[in-house]
Symmetry: C2
Subunit: 438 residues, 2 copies
């Protein structure tokens, strides 16, 4: 993805030659998977069109830092056109896909425009899964888009402002509940407790820190279940050191506007519920290949990543149920998305060269999660688990490396450095809904 920085050259895009006779590859979705497919086809004799309802790629792993006012939206988002600025055979189409007609081989957009394709790649990603829990989709806030992140940031900061405003007359406590102890839940709860401490201390908010609670709940008996036991134990120790209350074996039965109810009957008044409980495939495109819809609403693909065994319809990343064995599937993680995207690009290229397609193999390079400003865990496959500052630095480096665009890397690095040494003025602006409304 780093090579995409070619987009930052100072030269303008060359005049586009006529490529109309080249096969047309339509990629639905500009996330990790979709971008990798396009990138793999930049120097091939195909026309590529990326369709996305946003004109930018969102770096999902850092959304929680936007939500906790550590980074700005523009620092985790990058215009898709800019990514491929110099590639004459890649185009971007801003729009929402309503459905795919696999027989006529056209993608139909919500404005009824149609794009005919020779190859289709579904890369629509995943979104939060609410498991049909009453009120969850209305009142809990997930973290799968810039909109989510900004909505959450506004909710958090507004709650703190409100508590300060009424501190003299009718002081209140604030409960923030994070549902889900996976990487997102751990990272968000850690960052949130740091945000609250900072805001109270630096901004002199009239709040009793002991009455502002950050509560992480999970049904499982430990955090970061994909990690080894000792990583989970370390994460728990760090979170508790940071003042996060971690409660295991608790399942949510309802989310109300200002409260959350648990299976054990407890009803807790909350300022915000952050939903990090699970994911499901994004959008309805999977239903266009109904018979091939797999677990979590994902599109079932064969070992070559082809949909319904068609030779020219593919699915990658979180939107694809990629077999890792008999009825087992690869997890919905960024590395799987990127590797599957690269694989599909390679297979399309092989077909153009008249070569046979080869099966997808995922190379596990390990997983990592950050807990606070100095703490992270990184687990290498069959390897050691790196903890503490070293793990944190590894986390920093990796995320900077994968962040699209040199300029974004630079800005994020500046912000992180700044925050590491001092943290007075993160962009703590309450700007979204309210502002766009006024």
């Amino acid at each position: 993805m780093i090579n995409l920085d070619m987009a930052l050259s100072t030269k303008p895009a060359p005049v586009q030659p006529d490529l109309s006779h080249w096969p047309h590859v339509v990629i639905v979705g500009g996330g990790f998977g979709g971008l990798e497919v396009a990138r793999g086809l930049v120097d091939k004799n195909v026309r590529v069109t990326i369709i996305d309802r946003h004109n930018f790629h969102t770096f999902l792993p850092l959304l929680y830092q936007v939500a906790t006012a550590m980074l700005e939206p523009a620092e985790v988002a990058y215009p898709i056109r800019t990514v491929f600025g110099k590639a004459p055979n890649v185009r971007f189409r801003h729009g929402q896909v309503s459905h795919v007609d696999h027989e006529r081989q056209v993608v139909v957009l919500s404005d009824d425009a149609e794009l005919a394709y020779d190859h289709l790649v579904i890369a629509t990603g995943a979104t939060a899964a609410f498991f049909g829990i009453p009120g969850a989709s209305q009142h809990a806030i997930p973290l799968y888009s810039l909109a989510d992140a900004r909505r959450l940031r506004n909710r958090l900061l507004s709650a703190l402002e409100h508590a300060d405003a009424v501190a003299d007359t009718a002081p209140i406590g604030l409960n923030f509940v994070i549902v889900g102890g996976g990487p997102t839940g751990v990272e968000t709860s850690g960052a949130l407790s740091e945000l609250i401490k900072t805001v109270i201390k630096r901004d002199g908010l009239k709040l009793d820190p002991t009455r502002v609670r950050v509560i992480l709940v999970d049904m499982a008996p430990r955090l970061l279940t994909p990690f080894p036991e000792k990583a989970s134990a370390y994460a728990l120790k760090e979170l508790e050191r940071m003042g996060v209350e971690v409660e295991f074996g608790r399942s949510v039965v309802e989310v109300e506007e200002h409260a959350i109810r648990f299976a054990d009957g407890e009803r807790l008044r909350v300022a915000a519920v952050i939903w990090a409980a699970g994911v499901t495939a994004n959008g309805t495109l999977a239903s266009d290949v109904q018979d091939k819809t797999g677990p979590g609403g994902r599109v079932r693909v064969n070992e070559f990543l082809q949909i319904a065994d068609r030779t020219n319809a593919w699915a990658v990343g979180d939107s694809a149920a990629i077999p890792s064995g008999d009825n087992t599937f690869y997890p919905q993680l960024a590395p799987v998305a990127m590797q599957s995207g690269r694989h599909v690009a390679a297979q399309i290229a092989r077909q153009l060269d008249g070569k046979a397609v080869v099966p997808f193999k995922f190379r596990d390079k390990g997983i990592m999660a950050t807990i606070g400003r100095h703490a992270a865990v990184a687990t290498l496959p069959k390897g050691p688990t790196v903890k503490g500052t070293l793990g944190w630095l590894a986390w920093l480096g990796l995320h900077l490396w994968y962040l699209v665009g040199f300029r974004n890397k630079l800005r994020v690095m500046i912000n992180w450095t700044w925050r590491y040494f001092d943290w007075p003025s993160g962009p703590r602006l309450i700007v979204a809904d309210a502002e766009t409304a006024d």
Copy 2:
């Protein structure tokens, strides 16, 4: 304002002593005027409360750069709490003032909370004046808040994306009309034409540049009327060199959703109408002193900046009609706002010391406007007019200097430097309404 960078110290705010016996100064509005009042009282024996409906100060002179995707919202906004982080006698109250009860000396907020004051300062600023032109307030976009800037940015970028999307099937032209040839209109039209050229060239948009028009209209016979003739002539030359069509002596009679109608009968289809035609006092607080409402809905003040000759009610900046002579008033400009704010702080301090108040005198330090990336005009009082790159550098320096917060200065400087040498990837994200909705 530069001294406000004390807020960037690494030390936490000290524990607040009990100041309850100190007189309470309530400042309504955290703009240039309001911040200067508070800043002038930081080391005085008064309690200060700044009330604003946003938790941040907005640097209005650069809003047009947010609208044209040159800067990010966080780069022209700064949390008010952070500004006064170390000042124990200054507090921030996030809220909307519904009215002022001058008899009981309380400010009433929209949540019905009441703040009793010993001194009141109205610093609510100005907003766009639509002069009752039908459709203007609904369909034209002004530039007086971050919300305006982001709404305009989304409109501009979405229009370009749409034109590109239909380029193959039904190519369209795009007209962007800026109403008003003052500094805001000149700066915005210049920046907009640069944005369009950049986006078309760098992003390879399928648009015919000759069919994308930026039209600046004004009733007056010249641009930048507050400037000398030669500055106006220079601005006109520069704008036309940049491809902006400037039309004088044209008045708008109606703005429709996708069109604008002029007094001469022409009806032009538009992608966006940018409203830079004039300002009026912001909010309704002036009506609480009805008999004292002056031109443009501003609060009439005496030469000491006192409202209705009360000794403890003041108004500053764009929301005040500040006499510059018999029935003449100072213009609604940032320098007037800042100087009047400092003056009120000084007068309140004088009263506390038992001294008599002194009249306000505005010291004109000149005006400046930037036209493009290398061109600006700066006019010194009774002095020369600086043009071209020198004027542009002066403009850059001055705006950086007044930008609140070292970190924001740094980020804006980086962006400007970046853009000066190369301009591939401004934060061209379409994120507001659509995104907060989805």
